[in-house]
């Protein structure tokens, strides 16, 4: 009987080590591309293609080449502007829609909700040409409004918010209605604060989606002045002679904002995602 507890302790220890090693490998695999990206941005193109893994001295050259080719500030501003406006509006619209679907009772509610979910199955490529025609008729071609408007109501985000609102007690809402609060006030002052983790998760999701948005801006933007980061990266990588050092630097710059947003809000993101599945 004395051996048994000893045995369990050692199994636990071994299990712990195995978990640790697996996690370590997973961490290295996930971090390596970032490491290589940063190292690559300091090397010349030839060094990048030859697989140099140490920091080089070409950062300044790469930077000068990049600045010469693209008006970085304008591109950064274009991307930040469209992304922030989009994120703010889409989180607002989708959270309210999710709230409505969950908390307001109506006969056609589920039918409408299902229609929404079904629309998730339509691939964007098939909506592209009609949308393009629409934007053209509305005279919105080559504007940032055209990037923001069409996908503001995201079925996935509505679904995500609705799932999260299930856990919010309806009794509180009813109680404040009796106390005389109007619906908007209930949503913003009562529902929003305790659900902030969910909102943060929605924020990150929406931010990443729009920051990385590629196909639609490509189609609808026409001039160099309106370009976003994804389009710059794409055009940099299409050349008879690709300057990989410069490309790596551009990727670092494009990744930084996402990294910052994700790292600062990561805790909320995880609790938000876990919370929605309760």
């Amino acid at each position: 009987m004395k051996i048994k507890p000893k045995f369990t302790i050692s199994t636990k220890k071994i299990n712990g080590w195995i978990t640790f090693i697996i996690l370590l490998i997973a961490a290295v695999i996930s971090v390596f591309p970032f490491f290589w990206m940063v190292v690559g941005s300091t090397n010349t193109s030839a060094d990048v293609t030859m697989g140099t893994m140490s920091f080089g001295s070409a950062l300044k050259v790469n930077w000068n080449n990049l600045v010469e080719k693209a008006s970085l500030l304008r591109i950064f501003w274009n991307t930040a502007k469209t992304t922030l406006i989009y994120t703010f509006l889409s989180v607002l619209i989708c959270s309210m829609a999710g709230y409505g679907f969950e908390k307001y009772r109506s006969k056609s509610r589920n039918l409408l909700y299902n229609v929404f979910l079904i629309s998730m199955m339509i691939p964007f490529a098939s909506q592209m040409i009609p949308l393009f025609k629409m934007m053209n008729k509305l005279k919105l071609m080559d504007t940032h409004t055209a990037i923001i408007l069409p996908t503001l109501a995201m079925p996935f985000l509505i679904f995500f918010f609705r799932q999260s609102f299930i856990s919010f007690p309806t009794e509180i809402i009813e109680a404040s209605r009796i106390d005389g609060a109007n619906e908007l006030r209930i949503f913003f002052s009562l529902v929003l604060p305790p659900m902030r983790a969910t909102f943060a998760a929605g924020f990150i999701y929406s931010f990443m989606k729009q920051w990385n948005n590629y196909l639609w801006p490509l189609i609808v933007l026409q001039s160099n002045e309106q370009k976003t980061f994804t389009l710059l990266l794409s055009s940099l990588s299409s050349a008879y002679f690709v300057d990989y050092g410069q490309l790596m630097l551009a990727i670092v710059l494009a990744t930084l904002p996402i990294l910052i947003v994700f790292l600062t809000m990561q805790k909320h993101f995880v609790t938000g995602i876990v919370g929605s599945s309760k």
Binding site: L84, F132, Q222, S234, S235
Partner: protein, 449 residues
């Protein structure tokens, strides 16, 4: 803290919306935006250039096509100061995606001029008949290389103006060849069999692979081989010609020989290909003139590289030591409000200015298909990196010998079919005849023929 962060972000977002939300709806407040509006309003369909006009162009590559077209705009503006050219830099695939969307939507949101590869242009010319301006009578075609005119024509009418050519060239490391016991003279005008012999010696003596080809799309060599005997995936009528294609059959066998002899390096992507050329893993490559920039990225190898004509088939009739790999041409959209001005620019600059071609050749190594510009003082330029060789002269000599073929527009699709079938041949699982039949079936299926 968390609450404050979210609140702050939302406030910032709100502020930005308020400050700039309306701005986004107007066209960019600069000269190009204004000019664009004027273009839309003025419905002048003539070469009258007294009104300020901006021609919009879609192209790819910031180091090559973009400055080349910007320079064309400057040349044209000398005589037509009211016309300016705005070149939008996009990825090559993005140009096609955007163009396809615009054409599918009935010709909206398109620029005035677009750059298309000769390998794909026929696909769009056939699918969107009437969407491209017929330039046959607007551009002087008398001075272009015949194979380039073939490439921009459809049903006897010319729609494109040739920009560049892709003379197929053998780039090789002379030091590795010498170490293997051969000389530069041995590398001139040889056959593929001789090439493989030298390759084996190079592998034995130096350990370097002789030649590099992409692992995922092994068709650069095959395409070079095909056009060197006037063959292609498609015949002159645009019909698929794979099963009875002697060049493909011989090409498959030669590349399999190279692989079996261990002299073929299969590169995982263009980055890997550049790497093995720059670090001496591979001693040679067959590619277009643009490969010179990739090779020259390794500044420490200056003087070690040479160029020569592409090897030829020893046993196919009409085989020459010359071929072509790609190249692009400019096209004008029928929907363009300025299509006559655009055609006039292409005619004045690309079909009438030798000086322009000299400029873009010296600045960007762009070798054109314009015959008067394929000789002259610029071709005497010696390139130190290639041991003082007159590389442009070699490119031009090659071009003069290239047989014309009908590219047929579906080269990418044919490349995929061939690559899939070729994998089995290289591994030894499939006979060449069977592989060609499989590729033929796949392509027919995909193109619905």
């Amino acid at each position: 803290m968390k609450k404050r962060f979210i609140a702050l972000t939302l406030v910032v977002a709100l502020l930005i919306t308020a400050l700039t939300g309306c701005k986004a709806e107007k066209p960019a407040p600069d000269s190009s935006g204004n000019a664009k509006n004027e273009n839309n309003e003025s419905n002048n369909d003539s070469t009258d250039t007294s009104e300020p006009t901006t021609l919009t162009v879609w192209a790819w590559d910031d180091n090559y096509n973009i400055p080349i077209m910007q320079l064309a705009g400057e040349y044209y503006a000398k005589e037509n100061p009211n016309v300016s050219v705005e070149v939008i830099s996009l990825a090559k695939e993005d140009v096609y995606t955007k163009m396809q969307t615009g054409l599918s939507a009935g010709g909206t949101g398109l620029p005035d001029i677009v750059l298309l590869e000769d390998y794909v242009s026929a696909k769009y010319l056939q699918t969107f008949k009437g969407s491209f301006a017929d330039l046959t009578d607007k551009v002087d075609y008398s001075n272009f290389l015949p194979f380039k005119i073939d490439a921009v024509s459809n049903s006897g009418r010319a729609y494109g103006v040739p920009l560049d050519t892709g003379a197929s060239i053998l780039f090789y490391r002379t030091d590795l060849i010498q170490e293997a016991g051969y000389t530069d003279a041995d590398m001139q005008d040889m056959t593929w069999e001789q090439f493989i012999e030298i390759g084996k010696a190079v592998k034995d003596k130096t350990g370097s692979y002789m030649i590099v080809e992409m692992a995922a799309n092994k068709t650069t060599l095959l395409r070079s081989m095909m056009q060197s005997v006037g063959k292609w995936y498609f015949d002159s009528n645009g019909e698929i010609s794979i099963v009875d294609n002697v060049a493909l059959e011989k090409g498959f066998a030669l590349i399999k020989d190279m692989k079996d002899a261990g002299i073929l390096y299969e590169a995982e992507g263009t980055g890997d290909r550049a790497g093995v050329l720059n670090n001496g893993t591979v001693a040679s490559i067959v590619n277009g003139p643009w490969m010179a920039s990739t090779i020259k990225a390794a500044t420490d190898q200056s003087g070690l590289w040479r160029i020569a004509s592409t090897p030829r088939f020893s046993d196919v009739e009409g085989a020459v030591n010359a071929s072509n790999l790609g190249g692009s041409s400019w096209y004008v959209f029928e929907s363009s409000k300025n299509k006559d001005i655009a055609a006039d620019l292409l005619n004045k600059v690309y079909a009438n200015s030798t000086e322009y071609y000299e400029d873009i050749m010296l600045a960007h190594a762009c070798v054109s298909g314009y015959i008067p510009a394929l000789s002259g003082p610029a071709f005497e330029t010696e390139d130190e990196y290639f041991g003082g060789q007159k590389i442009y002269q070699i490119f031009a000599d090659t071009l003069a010998k290239v047989p014309g073929v009908n590219y047929g527009g579906y080269v990418a699709e044919a490349n995929d079919a061939i690559t899939a079938a070729f994998a089995g041949v290289l591994s030894g699982d499939t006979e060449i005849k069977a592989a060609l039949e499989a590729a033929d079936a796949q392509l027919k299926n995909q193109l619905g023929r």
